[in-house]
């Protein structure tokens, strides 16, 4: 019995290994296939701007060289393992100590490779840090869990005489050298639009610069890449590049004076907005009960001291940290897949009644922390002196939600 078992043992041990070959090959094939994905908006290997292209050009050759080195080393290891395996010989193999020619070559070759990588790396670093060719400046401020973009008064960006504030989507003129000045109001975040440039941390109390340039009009996705708390995964960002005429139109639209609502529901919504929302959210030009323009004070209620400016909410296509769409899936798909020549007009049309999908906005107004996790439990706000991190549930009635949606859909 013992002999039979011993004879059979190698065969039974080999079976599980063979069974693993097929699933292993399938996993490897699937992993390789993911690199063929066409709809990958955050693919670093598909640069759409000068800076991202510089980074891509820089990483390509080291990857190729590293791949060749990997293959050479792996093949050499396999040859050594197979050729010099233990064949049961008892004699001690020949021992060698030191081979100067080989050692010198193995020192010089990596040094040459490192030099070859180091020179273009340093040169690219300087190029990416250049600010002297700036044509447009935008302040980018991160907070839990959304990005604010303000366009300071400047001669750049085609001239800005009054500041523009927006959030979620940063709108830039295509083909221009844009300089972002990145800061944070609460914790460390990281700004990253892979198609346009590398990452840059947003650190409280510091201002970091990042160049951004898009070759053509289009929309480019990004994601906060520094873990920043509960809803880090919902802290997305999008860069929208418009042609220069379109950018001028967008700027003019952002500075249009406030238009009072015309629709009855929207008028009710304005009143509800003033009592419930305007403490934190600014709508430029809205007049309060005392006849004075209402100035929001998010610094008194929110830990970061800021809440998204909703003056032109319907000119952007999503909200709450670019996490939830205002467009129907069909309209969103059409916008994201639009050709550069058609994109600007499509984007400037904003959220049209045909394309508006109220579901996300309704759910958000019904229970914001339920849709996007935030620190709004009053029992746990001691460390922030009673201030929330994010938007609390305002316990609005369904009628109030409808009215506010009517009011907001007119904010174009």
């Amino acid at each position: 019995m013992t002999t039979v078992a011993a004879v059979n043992e190698p065969a039974t041990r080999a079976r599980p290994a063979r069974r693993l070959i097929l699933p292993g090959a399938a996993v490897a094939a699937l992993t390789l296939l993911t690199s063929c994905a066409k709809d990958a908006p955050q693919d670093t290997f598909q640069p759409k701007g000068e800076n991202a292209r510089d980074i891509n050009n820089l990483q390509r050759w080291p990857f190729i060289i590293a791949g060749i080195v990997l293959v050479i080393v792996t093949v050499a290891v396999f040859i050594c393992v197979i050729k010099f395996r233990d064949r049961g010989q008892t004699a001690m193999p020949k021992q060698t100590h030191g081979k100067p020619a080989l050692e010198i070559m193995l020192t010089i070759l990596p040094a040459i490779i490192l030099l070859g990588i180091g020179i273009p790396t340093v040169s690219t670093l300087f190029k990416l840090a250049k600010t002297s060719d700036t044509q447009c400046i935008i302040n980018v401020t991160g907070q839990q869990w959304w990005w604010e973009y303000d366009y300071p008064v400047q001669d750049g960006c085609g001239g800005i005489t009054e500041p523009i504030v927006t959030s979620g989507q940063i709108v830039i003129p295509a083909g221009e050298h844009v300089l972002l000045k990145i800061a944070s109001r609460d914790v460390i975040h990281s700004f990253w639009i892979p198609a346009l440039n590398g990452k840059k941390d947003a650190v409280p109390g510091r201002v970091h610069s990042l160049r951004l340039e898009a070759d053509q009009p289009g929309i480019y996705a990004g994601q906060c890449t520094e873990f920043c708390g509960l809803s880090h995964a919902y802290m997305r960002m999008e860069a929208v590049a418009l042609d220069s005429a379109g950018f001028e139109t967008w700027k003019a639209n952002q500075l249009e004076p406030y238009a009072s609502p015309t629709d009855a529901d929207a008028k009710e919504g304005e009143a509800t907005f003033l009592t419930q929302c305007s403490r934190c959210h600014q709508v430029n030009g809205i007049i309060g009960g005392d006849g004075q323009p209402v100035i929001s004070r998010p610094d008194q209620y929110v830990y970061s001291g800021a809440a998204p400016n909703l003056t032109n909410l319907m000119t952007r296509t999503d909200f709450a940290g670019a996490s939830f769409d205002l467009l129907t899936p069909e309209c969103k798909d059409k916008l994201w897949k639009a050709k550069p020549a058609d994109f600007t007009q499509l984007y400037l049309a904003g959220v049209t009644p045909e394309c508006f999908d109220a579901v996300n906005l309704r759910e958000w107004l019904r229970d914001a922390p339920g849709k996007k996790p935030m620190y709004t439990n009053t029992n746990e706000l001691g460390p922030t002196d009673g201030k929330t991190r994010g938007m609390p549930n305002l316990n609005l009635s369904e009628d109030q939600i409808d009215q506010i949606i009517s009011f907001l859909t007119e904010r174009k």
Binding site: I137, N139, P152, Q154, E162, V207, S209, R297
Partner: protein, 382 residues
């Protein structure tokens, strides 16, 4: 009747008891010190009792009749330097009372060391009739204390001497000397390591000469005094009170200032009675500086004019108490310290409120101003 060991601890018990009483009476019975000294007394008493009970663990001493009836085989006490050192310590006390507190502390430390050393030496000499054995028990008791303390003092002396030498040398020569000494130590170590046999006395002599040379040079450097070093004042980071000036000009070479300069929202310069602003990434000067709302912004103020000036940042007005029926307002204003010609100050500001529109009256606009100079620059907070 009492053994040698128990006599030592009995004496220590009496001494610490006396210390407890004196300290307790003079310090109005301060609980911590008095309790600590009393604990020491109890410990000494306990040790004295144990030594007395076990007769110093000396079997022959158990025969009390023998000890009392036969003469002890004591050796003559060796010469000791400790009375001399103790005396010097005592003499230092009155000197210190005149010269300063530090000398008194040194005198007290010297007296304590001399007392302990002399006491243990005397005790060990009467422990037995064997001189070598007596010496060994002294070493066993005192070496765990002496060696670490002497090592720390010696090391401290060398480090202190070295630091005096480096402070005395010109800053450029310091790096050369530092490298030279390090190379010398390396060379010395290499030479010793390369020799198959080296006389211990030779190494000890060379080390002693090196240490003495270092300490001697250190003392000479300390006496000569350090080189002149420019005072680096920290930059002023104001908290928003426009009160009286309390600090001098900041030094742009300090690390905090360098960090601030790498992080500027704007540099405001006063030159020829006019203010100008520079913003990172914007070529030339700007007339209006846009600052993000509710975000810390670093501002640098440079005064290139003759006279002392400060930058004032006017950020409008805010309601004192939002819940009050009658609203009252206060000015939101932040200032740097005043700086002379060529001076620089830094300030961190955080605007909680947005600036008014361009059509608002001039006195409501946010601005940079300099008291005493008719000039201003606009601030916009979105």
């Amino acid at each position: 009747m009492f053994t040698t060991g128990s006599k030592l601890f009995l004496g220590a018990t009496v001494l610490s008891l006396a210390g407890t009483i004196i300290y307790g009476a003079s310090q109005d019975g301060g609980p911590v010190g008095t309790l600590g000294l009393f604990t020491v007394t109890v410990v000494f008493a306990f040790l004295a009792g144990i030594n007395f009970y076990v007769r110093d663990s000396n079997v022959s001493a158990m025969d009390t009749d023998g000890i009392e009836s036969s003469p002890a085989a004591h050796v003559a006490p060796a010469r000791s330097m400790w009375p001399l050192i103790g005396g010097a310590g005592v003499a230092l006390v009155p000197v210190g009372l005149v010269a300063g507190k530090a000398v008194v502390w040194i005198a007290v430390i010297v007296i304590m060391i001399a007392t302990v050393e002399w006491m243990v030496q005397s005790w060990s000499e009467s422990a037995s009739g064997d001189v070598d054995y007596n010496r060994s028990i002294r070493r066993r008791i005192l070496h765990p204390l002496e060696l670490p303390i002497l090592g720390a003092v010696g090391l401290g002396l060398i480090i202190f001497s070295f630091s005096r030498i480096m402070l005395r040398l010109p800053s450029a020569a310091g790096a050369v000397v530092f490298g030279g000494i390090a190379a010398g130590v390396l060379l010395f170590g290499s030479l010793i390591a390369s020799k198959r046999t080296v006389a211990r006395s030779l190494v000890a002599a060379l080390c002693t000469i090196g240490a003495l040379g270092l300490v001697g040079a250190g003392v000479a450097s300390a006496v000569a005094g350090g080189r002149h070093i420019e005072k680096h004042e920290i930059p002023s980071f104001e908290e928003g009170t426009c009160g009286a000036d309390t600090s001098g000009e900041s030094d742009e070479d300090t690390s905090r200032a360098i960090a601030a300069k790498s992080n500027l929202a704007a540099t405001i310069t006063l030159e020829g009675g006019k203010l100008r602003a520079q913003v990172t990434g914007v070529p030339g000067n700007v007339d209006v500086v846009t600052l993000p709302r509710s975000t810390d912004s670093f501002i640098r103020f440079r005064n290139l004019d003759d006279g002392k000036y400060r930058l004032v940042i006017n950020l409008g007005k805010e309601v004192v108490d939002p819940k009050a029926e009658q609203k009252t307002y206060r000015e939101v204003k932040e200032c740097t310290q005043a700086v002379g010609e060529g001076g620089t100050q830094f300030i961190i500001i955080k605007a909680a409120l947005p600036s008014p529109g361009a059509d608002a009256p001039e006195e409501e606009q946010f601005s940079f101003t300099v008291p005493g100079v008719d000039t201003s620059l606009g601030i916009v907070v979105p």
